[in-house]
């Protein structure tokens, strides 16, 4: 008997007695700041080590990026709004992004409850962009912020994308004596630039 048949047979044989129906899942209300979802998102994102600024406060995202990361040699952008130092046609494999200083990506949505942003392979172009880069800059429309995780999981991306990922702040670890380090293995910082209007 194959391992598959063997396992499934044992699982059937050892099935716990009883009904164990699947409970309906209620929609839980997410407490949102009086000023709205953006304020909540901003607060939760910052608590998770992320930063937030608004496109209305800058001449353009690229001038802001150059000012914020003056030593950055390679800004690799996956969005049409920001010019890219690296031509996407030149990227042959995931490792080719290892020298990127700043990656720029648009998020599918933001989650006010947790400060998370969602990407799929469509936004990242090459998935390693958001991990091999030293810093990550995320463009997010204010109207794309949903209240909670339950709302976020209703998005069709989870049924269609090959890869979907929530980033909640930058790469972090507290594995040595609980001292919090940003840039454990992935990006050292994550900044969300809010654009668009409701």
């Amino acid at each position: 008997m194959s391992a598959r048949e063997d396992i499934l047979a044992r699982v059937r044989h050892n099935r716990p007695a009883g009904d164990y129906g699947l409970p309906p899942i209620p929609q839980f209300a997410i407490p949102i700041d009086e000023q709205g979802r953006l304020e909540t998102f901003s607060r939760t994102l910052k608590a998770m080590g992320g930063q937030l600024c608004r496109s209305s406060e800058m001449a353009s995202p690229i001038t802001w990026i150059r000012g914020r990361f003056p030593d950055a040699k390679i800004v690799c952008s996956a969005v049409p709004e920001v010019p890219s130092d690296r031509a996407w046609s030149a990227i042959r494999k995931p490792q080719d992004l290892a020298d990127v200083d700043v990656a720029v990506v648009r998020a599918v949505l933001g989650v006010a409850e947790s400060g998370s942003v969602l990407f799929t392979e469509a936004e990242l172009k090459v998935n390693t962009l958001a991990y091999l880069a030293q810093h990550l800059v995320v463009l997010l429309d204010e109207s794309a912020i949903v209240a909670g995780l339950q709302d976020a999981y209703m998005h069709s991306a989870f049924r269609t994308a090959r890869y979907a990922v929530f980033h909640t702040g930058p790469s972090a670890t507290g594995d040595i004596e609980g001292v919090l380090i940003h840039g454990a293995q992935g990006v050292r910082s994550l900044t969300v630039i809010i654009g668009g209007y409701n």
């Binding site: 194959s2 391992a3 598959r4 396992i7 499934l8 044992r10 699982v11 050892n14 099935r15 716990p16 164990y20 699947l22 409970p23 899942i25 839980f28 910052k46 608590a47 998770m48 080590g49 995931p94 490792q95 409850e113 400060g115 998370s116 998935n127 390693t128 958001a130 991990y131 091999l132 909670g148 995780l149 339950q150 989870f158 049924r159 994308a161 090959r162 890869y163 979907a164 990922v165 929530f166 980033h167 909640t168 702040g169 790469s171 972090a172 670890t173 507290g174 594995d175 040595i176 004596e177 609980g178 001292v179 919090l180 380090i181 940003h182 840039g183 454990a184 293995q185 992935g186 990006v187």
Partner: protein, 517 residues
Amino acid sequence: MSAANVLHPEVIGDRFEGAKDAQGRPLVHAEGTSKPIRAHTRHEPQPRGARDSGNRPVDQVEAAERFIAATEHEKAHDERLWDMRLRRDQAAHALPEWEDMRGLASRIKEHSLAHLDTYLGQFEAAAKANGVVVHWAADAAEHNRIVHQILKDRGAKSLIKSKSMLTDECGFRAYMAGVGIEVVETDLGERIQQLDGEEPSHVIGPAIHKTRADVAELFARTLGSDPDDEDIPHLASIQREATRPLILKADAGMTGCNFAVADTGTVVVCTNEGNADLSANTPPLHIASIGIEKIIPRFEHLAVFLRLLARNAIGTPMTQYTSHFRAPRAGGELHYVIVDNGRSERLGLKEFWTSLKCIRCGACMNTCPVYRRSGGLSYGATYSGPIGIILDPTLNRRKYSSLPFSSTLNGSCTNVCPVKINIHEQIFAWRKVMSEEHRLPFVKSEMMKVLGYVLSRPALYRAALGAADEALRLLPHFVLANSLNTWTNKGRDMPDAPSQTFHAWWRENRGPKSNSK
């Protein structure tokens, strides 16, 4: 910081050394602490875990005594885990629906486990339709063989991986070393443990028992850094720079699986470092190892578990990264290895099957007074702490027969469990199993015989109690605190005896005067 939240003031540091926000205030997320905790361990060697007992019972108590004797390690460990417990409480109390969510999570898991054949079938069919290659492994050996075959067929010589308790359970690294494949752990804590030849001591903080001095010494030994450099951001950066080239040149990547969503065939992985995403997305091949109990029906259920998991583990609303792998990326390969390794047998154990609900948050360890003061490695098993006590005997009943006795049965583990596993009741039930199977340690079993005889005879019990109290008052310390007394030989003193027994007090104050029974 309130004094009640501090267990050992002497290990509280005077400044935060970690990441701060734009206003310069210390940030508290990932596994970072809410107060600086610093052991002064320059001259205190790291206490090691349980001695290798082969297939004989692990001596957890002996290893725990050595951990307790390393006072700085023990205090810092205790303080850090308690800090995680406090952060968990804060996050839990902030959600009014917390208890409802625990109930839902428990019921979703029970439902999934009771219909596991259906959901495993659904998961497999969906994954195959998405272009994933699905393998089934009955046990650890088969898991390792399957992964080795996948690598061999593609000429892969090196593999990067994110932390996975399942692969630890399978002895995966040791197996791969034997067949000449280089395995590199990419989680900082797990990498530290790999370099030191130790198992993870905690499900989410693999190196939580180590101090900065231990890590500095280890990195000097294995990565060639300066042994006197105890700056933690620098130590973390040494590991980042050392691991990055290994990530870029790896032939294959591997992750575990926190949740497997049946109707879409999706594998969900939670990390704080983004190392699962690096492992899965950089090399052309991604292998995910999945325990059969990780199955949940749909995405709407995932929301329930993810809202509980990070809050209960470390007190944050989410882990830094929550990654969903549904299909291989263009030009890449994705393989799932679905592993049983004793889980289907556990499903048939009436008293113990609900331990399969566990989502590996580690909260039961953080709250356990025995675990906090003895360290995860003292259990000598892949899974330690309260959840380990009830999982390990299903993997090897003889070897882990003494673990159920490493508990005070205070029930705190059960109270913090996000999926409502009755952990302390299962610990007690395992004691009964071990007793019935004559697996009790000798002194404990002899004591139990005497106790059983006395407890079954009320008059003898009362006489014995009075005599015992009298003995406590009169006998010299060395007679009471002898090596057969399992209370005092663990560094504890006998309590002062009351002046009279409860029965004597009741007769005098409440009982009918004529009743002199």
